[in-house]
């Protein structure tokens, strides 16, 4: 009996702080919620027209017709232009880009970026 009492007295008690553990868990939850909401990708958003959708009619004078050749050179009505020159056509409502099938993707992205910067959001892509 005495030995048992002695054992109980010598037994070490471990104090477990539950409030601080729940504090830490809530902080971790807030951290993960914020992180998940910040997951995103960067790029250019496009809306592809539906198959069989009626064509959108735009007057010819409001369309800019561009050509991208194999080397990525940009042409407007047969004349070579720089991508920065597209800002002169910001009054246009739509653009048609005729792209050589061997043209690099980065050239197309640069042209689309410049057109969107100049508020030309209607872009038609045609492979040549």
């Amino acid at each position: 009996m005495m030995k048992r009492l002695k054992k109980l007295r010598n037994r070490k008690t471990i104090n477990f702080s539950l409030p601080s553990m729940s504090d830490i868990s809530f902080l971790l939850i807030i951290f993960f919620i914020i992180n998940i909401s910040f997951i995103y990708k960067q790029g250019i958003k496009l809306t592809v027209p539906k198959k069989g959708a009626p064509p959108i009619v735009v007057p010819l004078k409001e369309i800019i017709i561009l050509t991208l050749d194999k080397s990525g050179n940009l042409f407007l009505e047969g004349k070579k232009i720089k991508i920065e020159d597209l800002r002169l056509y910001s009054a246009k409502k739509a653009a048609v880009i005729k792209i050589n099938k061997f043209c690099k993707y980065r050239n197309l992205v640069s042209v689309i970026e410049e057109l969107k910067k100049n508020k030309i959001d209607r872009i038609s892509l045609k492979q040549i």
Binding site: L18, L28, I29, I36, Q42, L46, T47, L68, K101, Y105
Partner: protein, 129 residues
């Protein structure tokens, strides 16, 4: 008469840990199997949320990858059909190498049109100044 309000810390800690496990699992399942491609650089980047995103990777040789697996156009079309059967509002993120020829991109865009998928994103990276 003074009322004693007791907050059940034990149950609160239980709920907190369950929420934490839930959020961790969401984080793990949201991972996309990425294929290394050199994305084209643009000056102004718009940030697009990954809600309902499906990712297509295109290498400079024109190889298509979807869900970490290499596939051809027909297989990609079948996979996209399965995804759109579950969720019609899918957004397609096209991760293409900057050296990829336009002909491969054109085929993907035609595929998206056939699948009635109207939302697509050309994934780019910010131009290093």
């Amino acid at each position: 008469m003074r009322r004693n309000i007791t907050i059940p810390i034990v149950t609160m800690a239980d709920i907190a840990f369950l929420l934490l496990i839930f959020l961790l699992l969401i984080g793990i399942t949201e991972q996309t199997k990425e294929i290394p491609v050199k994305l084209p650089e643009i000056r102004e980047i718009s940030k697009i949320g990954l809600k309902k995103a499906q990712h297509i990777f295109v290498t400079k040789e024109g190889n298509l990858f979807f869900g970490g697996k290499k596939m051809d156009l027909a297989e990609l079309e079948l996979e996209l059909e399965k995804k759109t059967a579950i969720n019609k509002e899918v957004v397609i993120f096209i991760h293409s190498d900057e050296e990829t020829e336009y002909q491969y991109i054109a085929k993907i865009i035609e595929l998206l049109k056939r699948q009635y998928l109207k939302n697509c994103v050309f994934v780019c990276q910010k131009q290093k100044t």
